[in-house]
C-alpha cells in the first residue's frame, strides 16, 4: 500500500514537473503554468503537445478579441478605422498564424510554428498602435503579447 502511494505521489510530482520544467524556460512562468494546467491534456503532454495547447490558447484569445472588436463598432463608432485594421489582424492570427503553427509542429518543422506564434504578438501590437494611445483593447493586447512570447519559448525548445 505504502509502495503504491509512494509511486503515485512520485508520478504526480513528476507529471507536474514536466509543465514546471518547461515553464521555467519561458518569460512568464506563472502564466505558462496556469495556461497548461487549465487544459486536461497538459499533464500528459510532451513538449510538442504543450506547444499545441498554448497555440490553442492563442486561438481562443484571438476569437475572444475579435468578438470584443465586433462589439466595439456600436459602442465606439469613432474608432471604426482602427477597429477595421484590428479585425484584419486578428483574423490573420486565426486564419494564417494558428493553422501554420499547428501544421508545422505536428509535422516536425517547428521553425514555421515559431514564425506563426511570433506573428500573433506582432499583429496584436500593430492593432494596438492603430489606436494611437487610446486603445480599448490594451488588456487583451497584453495578454496576446504575453501568451505569444511564452508559446514562442516552448516552440523554440523543439528546434
Amino acid at each position: 500500500m505504502k509502495l503504491i502511494v509512494m509511486v503515485m505521489t512520485m508520478m504526480m510530482i513528476s507529471e507536474g514537473s514536466m509543465i514546471d520544467q518547461t515553464c521555467k524556460q519561458t518569460p512568464d512562468f506563472k502564466l505558462c503554468v496556469s495556461l497548461l494546467n487549465s487544459d486536461p491534456r497538459g499533464s500528459s503532454a510532451d513538449t510538442s503537445g504543450l506547444a499545441l495547447i498554448l497555440i490553442d490558447k492563442i486561438k481562443v484569445l484571438a476569437t475572444k478579441t475579435l468578438t470584443e472588436i465586433n462589439g466595439l463598432y456600436k459602442k465606439r463608432p469613432e474608432l471604426k478605422q482602427a477597429l477595421d485594421q484590428c479585425s484584419r489582424r486578428y483574423k490573420t492570427i486565426l486564419n494564417a498564424d494558428v493553422p501554420e503553427a499547428i501544421e508545422a509542429i505536428s509535422k516536425g518543422v517547428p521553425k514555421f510554428g515559431e514564425d506563426g506564434v511570433m506573428d500573433a504578438g506582432v499583429e496584436a501590437s500593430a492593432c494596438e498602435e492603430g489606436f494611437q494611445g487610446k486603445s480599448p483593447l490594451t488588456s487583451l493586447t497584453k495578454s496576446m503579447q504575453n501568451i505569444s512570447s511564452v508559446t514562442r519559448a516552448v516552440v523554440r525548445m523543439l528546434l
Partner: protein, 584 residues
C-alpha cells in the same frame, strides 16, 4: 503602320491572350488538395503591388520557401521550390516548378511533385536532384507520411523527351529511407536529402539533415542502385550543441580558380580539391559553411583548422538568407548557389499583398585564393538586364558629411557598382577589442555615429528628403593602436527603411576581408523590396527586405554618402536601371 502589320499584331495579341488564359486554367484545375483549413487566398494579388520584384524570382502569388532540386538538363535550367497553393504562409507544401535558358527569365510549369501516396500524403518537402551517369536526373525528397513522420522518396521524369520535364513519377518502392526502431532516427528530424555522389567503390552516398537531442548531424546513406539504401553507421559530420541541421549541402571546389566542380568529381590530374560542407541552422535561421577535406576512406568530412560547423562558421550571407542549395552547371562549368529570402513584413501584410518569399539572384560560388572563404557573385546573365541608362561618376571626392544623389536611374530597380578609395589610413579609429560581433556594431552605431572612416556607402530606396532610406556602408578601423592591420566593417541598416512600424527592421553586419589600402568595391542589386549587397567583390554578402511607404517606384532615390570625418574618394560609380525579367 500598314494594315497588315496591325492585323498581325492583333492576331499575336489574341494568341497570347488565349495562351495566357489556358495556362492559368491549367494551373487551377490540375490539383485537388485535401487540406482546406488555411486562409484560402486564391484571388490574384491586388493591383497595387509596390513591393513585387522586377528581376528576382518569385511566383505570381502565395508562399514560397526553399529552392529545391536546381539543375541543368539538356540546356534548360530547372528550379523547383517549396510552394503553398493555398495561401501566403507556409503550409500544404508542394514542389512548384519553373524553367529558364538564362537563369534570369523563367517559365512556370504545373507543380512537379505534390501529395499523392502514403509516403508523401502530408507534405512534399525539400530535396535535391542527382544527375545519374546515364544523364537522367532523379529527385530525392522528403515526404511526410500518414503518421506525420519524415521519410525520403525518389521521383524520376515521366517523359525524358519533354525538355521541360513537367511530369514526374514516384517509385512504388518509396519510402527509400525511413526512421524505424532499429535505426533510431528521429522521425520529426530527418529531412532535406542532398545531391548524391559516387564513391571510388561505385556506391552512391547521400546525406540527410537530422538531430539527436542537441546534436546536429548529417546522416549518410549508401546505395549501389539508387533504390536500395543502407544507413551508414557514422554520419558524414556532426556537431554537439548546434541543434537541427536543415538543408545540408556537400560539394567539391577547386582550390585555385573559380570554375565549378561536378559533385562526384575526384578532380582533374594535378588539380587540388577542397570540400565545402554547409548547413541551415534551425536555431539561428542562418546558413553556414565550412571548408575542409573529404576523407573518402572513412566517409567523413574533416573541417580545416579554424572551422567548426556551428554558429561560429562563416555565412554565405549576413542578412535574410536561408535554405540555400548549390548545383553544378555543366553548361558553363560553374557552381551556382540559390538562396531563399523571406519577408520582413507582418503576416497580415503578406496576406493582403497575397504573396511571401523570394529567391536571391543565383550566385556563382568559388573558393577564395586564401582558401579561407568562399566568394559569391551574381551570375553574369543578370547584367543583360542592365539598360543603356548608365549613370557614371568618376573621381569624385565625397567630403566628410556629404551626400551625392545619383540621377537618371530607376532607383527602385537598379544595379549599382561603386569603387571607393580612402587615404591617410593612419587616422583610422582603433576598434574596441570587445567588438567581435559585426551585426552588433552596426546596430549600435547608426549612420549618425561618426568614425574617421565611415560610415560611407550608398543610401538606397531613399525618399527625396530621407524620411526613409536603407543604408549600405563601410567603416574602417585599425585592429590595434599601433597596428598596420585594419578591420573593414560592412553594414546594411534597415532601421530607417520605412515609416511603417510593424516591419522587421533589424540591422545586419559583416566583416569584409579586404585590404583598405586598395580600392574598396561595393555592389547593390536594388529591386523594390529587396537589396542584395556585395562588399569586396563578393567577400561579404548581405540581403535585406524593406517596404518603404514613400520611396516607391519613381519616388525612390539613390545616394552615395560619406558621414565619416575623413574624405572618401569615389573612383568610379556605375548605376544602371534594370529591365524587368520574366520572373515566373
Amino acid at each position: 503602320m500598314t494594315r497588315e502589320v496591325c492585323s498581325n499584331i492583333g492576331l499575336w495579341l489574341l494568341f497570347t491572350l488565349l495562351i495566357g488564359n489556358y495556362v492559368v486554367d491549367l494551373e487551377a484545375s490540375h490539383h485537388v488538395y485535401k487540406r482546406l483549413s488555411q486562409s484560402t487566398n486564391t484571388e490574384s494579388p491586388s493591383v497595387n503591388q509596390p513591393y513585387r520584384t522586377g528581376f528576382h524570382f518569385q511566383p505570381p502569388k502565395n508562399w514560397m520557401n526553399d529552392p529545391n532540386g536546381p539543375m541543368i538538363y539538356k540546356g534548360i535550367y530547372h528550379l523547383f521550390y517549396q510552394w503553398n497553393p493555398k495561401g501566403a504562409v507556409w503550409g500544404n507544401i508542394v514542389w512548384a516548378h519553373s524553367t529558364s535558358t538564362d537563369l534570369v527569365n523563367w517559365e512556370p510549369h504545373p507543380p512537379a511533385i505534390f501529395p499523392s501516396a502514403p509516403f508523401d500524403i502530408n507534405g512534399c518537402w525539400s530535396g535535391s536532384v542527382t544527375i545519374l551517369p546515364n544523364g537522367k536526373p532523379v529527385i530525392l525528397y522528403t515526404g511526410i507520411d500518414p503518421k506525420n513522420q519524415q521519410v525520403q522518396n525518389i521521383a524520376e521524369p515521366k517523359n525524358l523527351s519533354d525538355p521541360y520535364l513537367r511530369e514526374w513519377t514516384k517509385s512504388t518502392l518509396n519510402p527509400l529511407m525511413a526512421p524505424d526502431a532499429i535505426n533510431g532516427i528521429n522521425a520529426s528530424s530527418f529531412r532535406d536529402p542532398t545531391t548524391a555522389w559516387l564513391g571510388q567503390d561505385k556506391k552512391w552516398r547521400v546525406i540527410i539533415g537530422s538531430k539527436i537531442h542537441r546534436r546536429g548531424l548529417a546522416i549518410t546513406y549508401t546505395s549501389k542502385d539508387f533504390l536500395k539504401w543502407e544507413k551508414s553507421p557514422e554520419p558524414l559530420h556532426y556537431d554537439d550543441g548546434s541543434g537541427m541541421w536543415e538543408c545540408p549541402d556537400f560539394f567539391p571546389v577547386t582550390r585555385f580558380g573559380s570554375k565549378g566542380v561536378e559533385t562526384s568529381s575526384f578532380g582533374e590530374p594535378n588539380e587540388i580539391l577542397k570540400h565545402v560542407f554547409k548547413i541551415s541552422l534551425d536555431d539561428t535561421k542562418h546558413d553556414y559553411y565550412t571548408i575542409g577535406t573529404y576523407d573518402r576512406m572513412k566517409d567523413k568530412f574533416v573541417p580545416d583548422s579554424g572551422f567548426k560547423m556551428d554558429a561560429t562558421a562563416p555565412r554565405y550571407d549576413y542578412g535574410k538568407y536561408y535554405a540555400s542549395k548549390t548545383f553544378y552547371d555543366s553548361a558553363k562549368n560553374r557552381r551556382i548557389l540559390w538562396g531563399w529570402t523571406n519577408e520582413s513584413s507582418s503576416v497580415e501584410d503578406d496576406v493582403e499583398k497575397g504573396w511571401s518569399g523570394i529567391q536571391t539572384i543565383p550566385r556563382k560560388i568559388w573558393l577564395d585564393r586564401s582558401g579561407k572563404q568562399l566568394i559569391q557573385w551574381p551570375v553574369r546573365e543578370v547584367e543583360r538586364l542592365r539598360t543603356k541608362e548608365v549613370k557614371n561618376l568618376r573621381n569624385k571626392v565625397l567630403k566628410s558629411g556629404s551626400r551625392l544623389e545619383v540621377y537618371g536611374v530607376t532607383a527602385s530597380q537598379a544595379d549599382v557598382e561603386v569603387l571607393f578609395k580612402v587615404r591617410d589610413l593612419e587616422k583610422a579609429d582603433v576598434i574596441d577589442p570587445s567588438w567581435t560581433d559585426p551585426q552588433l556594431i552596426c546596430s549600435q552605431m547608426n549612420v549618425s555615429a561618426k568614425s574617421s572612416f565611415g560610415p560611407f556607402g550608398l543610401m538606397v530606396l531613399a525618399s527625396k528628403n530621407l524620411e526613409e532610406y536603407t543604408s549600405v556602408y563601410f567603416r574602417i578601423f585599425k585592429a590595434r593602436q599601433n597596428s598596420s592591420k585594419f578591420v573593414v566593417l560592412m553594414c546594411s541598416d534597415q532601421s530607417r527603411s520605412s515609416l511603417e512600424e510593424d516591419n522587421d527592421k533589424t540591422t545586419y553586419g559583416a566583416f569584409v576581408d579586404i585590404n583598405p589600402y586598395k580600392p574598396i568595391p561595393l555592389r547593390a542589386l536594388i529591386d523594390h523590396s529587396v537589396v542584395e549587397s556585395f562588399g569586396g567583390n563578393g567577400r561579404a554578402c548581405i540581403t535585406s527586405r524593406v517596404y518603404p511607404k514613400l520611396a516607391i517606384g519613381k519616388s525612390s532615390h539613390l545616394f552615395a554618402f560619406n558621414y565619416g570625418s575623413q574624405n572618401v574618394d569615389v573612383l568610379n560609380l556605375n548605376a544602371w536601371s534594370m529591365n524587368s525579367a520574366q520572373i515566373s
